[in-house]
């Protein structure tokens, strides 16, 4: 049986009361989402707790500097170099860090390679965990209730929403990101890409193909 600290009578740090909507502190903020953010930013800025220029910097990083191009470089190298592919599936965190991709929401990475036998797909049913240093900020659909609810139960029907259909004898492995391990799907290398450079290969690697809801582009597509 599980340890019980007598939680019914104590209130550990950070333990919530369960309140009605209107009892939560957030209900004091303006209801309009944009005004709500603005209000919070203003309050925190006035007190010196946040610096608007730091916010600009955070946004610039995730808007312009960190995104699926990072992950695509990893996949392209794995396609081009069997030794790298092997090292990647053994200890992705280390080899990806060597490529310079590491940081918040990407401290622990596992790479899972698709085969004819098995297709991999990544979700976070409990929130929206995602490998930020490799893929950037998760797209809206990844954070949607529909994806979180359905991906684990009916991955093929979800793939159909993306226009993807798998061969009948391909099994699906859905990775639910319940801890701090982040998953990168290595899609299968498209046919007709023999001899292509890593850079050209990387251009075929779509964001969705690294989540498992898409397939890479065909060359010339």
């Amino acid at each position: 049986m599980a340890l019980d600290l007598g939680s019914a009578s104590r209130k550990p740090d950070g333990m919530p009361h369960d309140h009605h909507d209107h009892d939560h502190p957030h209900s004091h903020l303006p209801p309009d989402p944009a005004l709500r953010v603005k209000a919070l930013e203003t309050i925190l800025t006035r007190k010196g707790l946040i610096d608007p220029a730091a916010l600009d910097e955070i946004i610039d990083i995730y808007q312009n500097r960190i995104g699926p191009k990072n992950g695509a470089q990893v996949v392209a190298r794995a396609w081009a170099d069997p030794g790298f592919m092997h090292a990647l599936t053994e200890d992705a965190t280390a080899v990806i860090a060597e490529m310079g991709f590491y940081g918040r929401q990407g401290e622990h990475i596992t790479a899972v390679a698709n085969t004819d036998d098995t297709h991999n797909m990544v979700v976070c049913t409990l929130c929206s965990c995602y490998p930020w240093p490799l893929l950037g900020i998760p797209p809206g659909w990844y954070k949607s209730d529909a994806y979180r609810a359905r991906a684990v139960r009916e991955p093929r029907k979800v793939l159909a929403d993306f226009g993807v259909s798998l061969p009948e004898d391909t099994a699906v492995r859905v990775w639910d990101s319940t801890a701090e391990m982040r998953y990168l799907v290595i899609p299968q290398r498209p046919a007709g890409t023999e001899g292509m450079s890593e850079e050209d290969l990387a251009a075929l690697v779509t964001r969705d193909s690294m989540i498992g809801t898409g397939l890479p582009r065909e060359p010339g597509q």
Binding site: A8, P16, P25, A34, L49, A54, I58, L126, T178, A179
Partner: protein, 224 residues
């Protein structure tokens, strides 16, 4: 389920919209919401598990109606008050605007890139020895619940509670969210990838060989 965020396997949500041309931030306020949350987190008054729990314990009605970044904003406002960084008068605009004692810790623009690149790894040395080996059959606890704190944070989804699977691999020893979210320490313990046949989780699995893999802490598991 423990809370309404625990939606894996739920019916009724309709199609997924792939929206292929969506920008990174669909609205300007999405970008600001993300940045405010990260910058406020840098004050060091809570950890990631605490902030996840702050979103999860929004009322079910709020959780259902709020968009993603609205949940972030609501969770952040609740945390700021709960941790005593702000008080409710601040949120209503009646607070005083003088410099805050924590202002020295504010994230500076030139420290942003390094802070994001540094991240916050969750692996820790632990004196809890692994009980399971790859291939071993295990069963998850049922109900899915925080064993220490009634209604507390946990990372075992309800859809996998009481399910039989097998150990795929050991990830090492990681901070336990069930304690860390509640100021009860990091209590690191072995974390495993555990594979469950889809037929163990769903009444109508799509394919006989489908699997769902979850990362689960040792205390969530027992031998099966």
């Amino acid at each position: 389920m423990t809370r309404v965020h625990d939606m894996g396997g739920r019916f009724g949500d309709g199609p997924v919209d792939p929206a292929p041309d969506e920008p990174v931030f669909k609205e300007d306020w999405h970008a600001r919401a993300l940045a405010v949350t990260l910058a406020a987190g840098a004050l060091g008054q809570w950890n990631l598990d605490t902030s996840r729990h702050a979103r999860e314990r929004l009322s079910p009605k709020d959780y259902a109606r709020f968009s993603y970044y609205e949940k972030w904003m609501a969770g952040l406002a609740d945390l700021l008050v709960e941790k005593g960084v702000l008080d409710e008068s601040d949120l209503t605009g009646q607070g005083d605007g003088s410099r805050h004692p924590l202002a020295d810790r504010a994230l500076k623009p030139d420290a942003v890139a390094a802070a994001l690149a540094k991240g916050g790894p969750a692996d820790r040395p632990s004196n809890v020895a692994p009980l399971f080996v790859a291939g071993q059959a295990v069963r998850t606890r049922r109900p899915s619940a925080n064993a220490l704190v009634d209604g507390g944070h946990t990372r075992l989804p309800a859809y996998a509670a009481g399910a039989r699977g097998h150990i795929l691999r050991l990830h090492g020893t990681h901070v336990l969210p069930d304690t860390n979210a509640h100021g009860l320490g990091e209590q690191p313990e072995p974390l495993y990838a555990v594979a469950f046949p889809a037929s163990e989780l769903w009444a109508h699995p799509e394919h006989p060989r489908d699997e769902v893999i979850l990362d689960l802490w040792q205390s969530y598991l027992e031998p099966a």
